[in-house]
Amino acid sequence: MKTAVKPPGSDTARPTDGARPAHRLPFWVNQQLGLLVLIVVLAAVFGTLRPAFFNERLVLFPLLRDVSTLTVVALAQMVVLSIGHMNLAVGRMAAFGAFFAGFGYDRLGLPLVLGLVLCLVAGAAVGALTGWIIARTGVNSFVVTLAMDFALLGLVPLLYSACTENAAFTTRPAGLAELRSSSLADICLGPVCGSPAVPQVAQFTVLALAGLAFLYYRTRTGRELLLTGANPAAAELSGIPTGRRVVLAHALSGTLAALAGFMAAVGTGTFRASIGDDFMLPSFLGAVLGGTLLTGGAVSVVGALLGTTLVGVIRKGLDLLGVGLESLNIYLGCVLLLALSADRVRTVVSYRKVVRST
């Protein structure tokens, strides 16, 4: 019964010996990769069924334009999710921002870029105000952003009614039409032109993605946002200015929402109050599908893009297959859930494999 086993000498040094880096799960268990695989598989399936799926101008261009806008929307939500908050007013902040862009073009005669700046500033301001209220009062972000949503839901139409006839700004500054319809094909380096499938508005999305990726993966502020989300009490005690981070996250969210509003307005042509009406669900869907936690502390910038793309591809594919409204939503939901369950199975299987090999 008494068995004093001899210590196998080297064992004590396990934590640092590095013989087996015993790392976390390998790269192929990664959720983003799963999404990418799903997107590729679905695109292949749709492409086989309907070769028109790869029509650059008529299918891919609008698809990417849509994805570009909704990705920014998802990013706007992701930023607040990173601190464990929610922004129910994304759509309305988009409308608010877009109003200022329209106002700038229509009334102030601003050039394209200045209008965009005005729009972003307005978004940032309203976001920062929201964040400030949450940080100061400690009231649940759900409640505060819901109230903000109501306030803007009333305010934006009032502003439009006060400033316009048709409840929309139809003035278009130079460059807007080009921005809407031009693609990389219009940008040429000598004889080599880009693909006509990639819309020009995607530049905003790429910028937003790159900026946020830098913020979250490289900078101090990004890390502090995540830790604020992971555990506010510990973050405060570790010297992170949690209050300021809350304000920052909401201001960023407002800015991104405004950017999305601008992109949506560019996409359809006018600046009107109904912009952003149905941003709320896609914003959550894209972010959460991509791997951002609703509880805060973890984000995936690329995931937001992939999540949004997945939904976009399914929708587009079903549209192309000519699925009517009476079945579209049913298929959309089923494909989504099936695809995710399939991915889930993959994760579980690969996790088991890792455990077995340990």
């Binding site: 803007l152 959460v288 939503n329």
Partner: protein, 358 residues
């Protein structure tokens, strides 16, 4: 302008809940708002028919609020509330109008279908471990499609007059549907506070790990919560079918946000582990008061939304400032409270700026 201020008075305290005893505050708000409206309408608001109309439309918000509350109490979100309600309402309508099923069985089938779908949703969430948010979003999409399949764009109204009479009947000007909602709330309260199953549900929401370690299957609780949530939505659908002029694809379209607003205003935490049946009911009252005020004072909806938002935000900020001032007054003239001023609020108040935000 006085009218506007009066309507503000109804909403204002409504939202002072955030600070402390939410239910009490809500109760005061309801009473004050009701009296306020009574005075503003020179009494007509307190007369039979008005009371009846007031209560008639309270049933649905109460029921869907409770349905959401049950999901929230295990830390889940149910985005399919509206779609599920709309679907089962249309199912009941179609069964009665197109298939000649008598009202009783049709209602039972509809409610059972909603419960079953809730059950399946729960099982799916547990089996695949996919985020409940995404799963209910998926089921929502599917159900929206199914609802459209059932009803198309028409309004189904060819069903039994007995059912409608029940839906409209109001002994002593208290509508039957409202009594149904109240009875459901009472049963739910008894379930949550008194039964072992209800306590398990709460335990799993309050601390899933602890619950698991205490032999409570969190998976089972999630399934149960979604099932009960489905059941409550089914009841809401039955109430809607009975009291609406007919059912069509728009039924349930407006349920999602109110379903969250009622429990959260009523004091339920998004993180799970808390219930507030009375709070939810009262919060629904408050929201209904705002509706009535809108009709009473012929307000432009934009202004109403704007004012609600601003008043809530103002109350949140004002309430917090007020509270800090009170606290300061109590503790400032030192020495009076040396005998253990420990209270419930202590640990939570340690980090005021971030706590409530999660």
């Amino acid at each position: 302008m006085t009218t506007l201020r009066n309507q503000g008075a109804a909403a204002l305290p409504a939202l002072r809940r955030f600070s402390r005893s939410t239910t009490m505050t809500l109760l005061c708000v309801v009473v004050a708002g009701y009296v306020g409206l009574g005075i503003a309408s020179s009494g007509s608001f307190l007369e039979g028919p008005s009371v009846r109309t007031f209560l008639q439309y309270l049933a649905t918000p109460v029921l869907i609020g409770l349905a959401q509350m049950v999901a929230l109490c295990v830390g889940q979100l149910n985005l399919a509330v509206g779609a599920l309600g709309g679907f089962s309402a249309c199912l009941m309508g179609v069964l009665m109008a197109d298939h000649g099923v008598p009202a009783g069985p049709a209602i039972v089938i509809g409610v059972a279908a909603a419960t079953l779908i809730g059950l399946l949703t729960g099982i799916f969430i547990v089996a695949t471990q996919i985020n409940g948010f995404i799963v209910t979003l998926g089921t929502m999409t599917i159900l929206l499609g199914a609802q459209y399949r059932l009803s198309g764009t028409r309004t189904i109204d060819g069903y039994s007059d007995t059912l409608r009479d029940l839906g409209r009947s109001a002994p002593l000007n208290i509508p039957l549907v409202f009594l149904t909602a109240l009875a459901t709330a009472a049963l739910l309260a008894a379930f949550m506070y008194r039964t072992v199953a209800g306590r398990r549900l709460l335990a799993a929401g309050g601390n899933p790990v602890a619950a698991r370690l205490s032999g409570i299957s969190t998976d089972r609780q999630i399934v149960l919560a979604h099932t009960v949530s489905g059941l409550l939505v089914g009841i809401a659908a039955a109430v809607a079918t009975a009291s609406l002029p007919g059912v069509n694809r728009s039924v349930g379209g407006d349920w999602l946000l109110p379903s969250f607003a009622a429990p959260i205003i009523g004091g339920v935490a998004l993180t799970g582990g808390s219930v507030a049946v009375l709070g939810t009911v009262l919060a629904a009252f408050v929201m209904r008061l705002i509706d009535s005020a809108r009709a009473q004072f012929s307000l432009d909806p934009s202004w109403v939304n704007f004012l609600i938002g601003v008043v809530v935000l103002g109350t949140v900020v004002g309430g917090r400032i007020h509270q800090t001032r009170i606290e300061r007054k109590i503790t400032a003239p030192g020495g009076t409270s040396s005998a253990q001023p420990r209270g419930a609020a202590r640990p939570a108040a340690a980090l005021p700026s971030t706590k409530g935000a999660r």
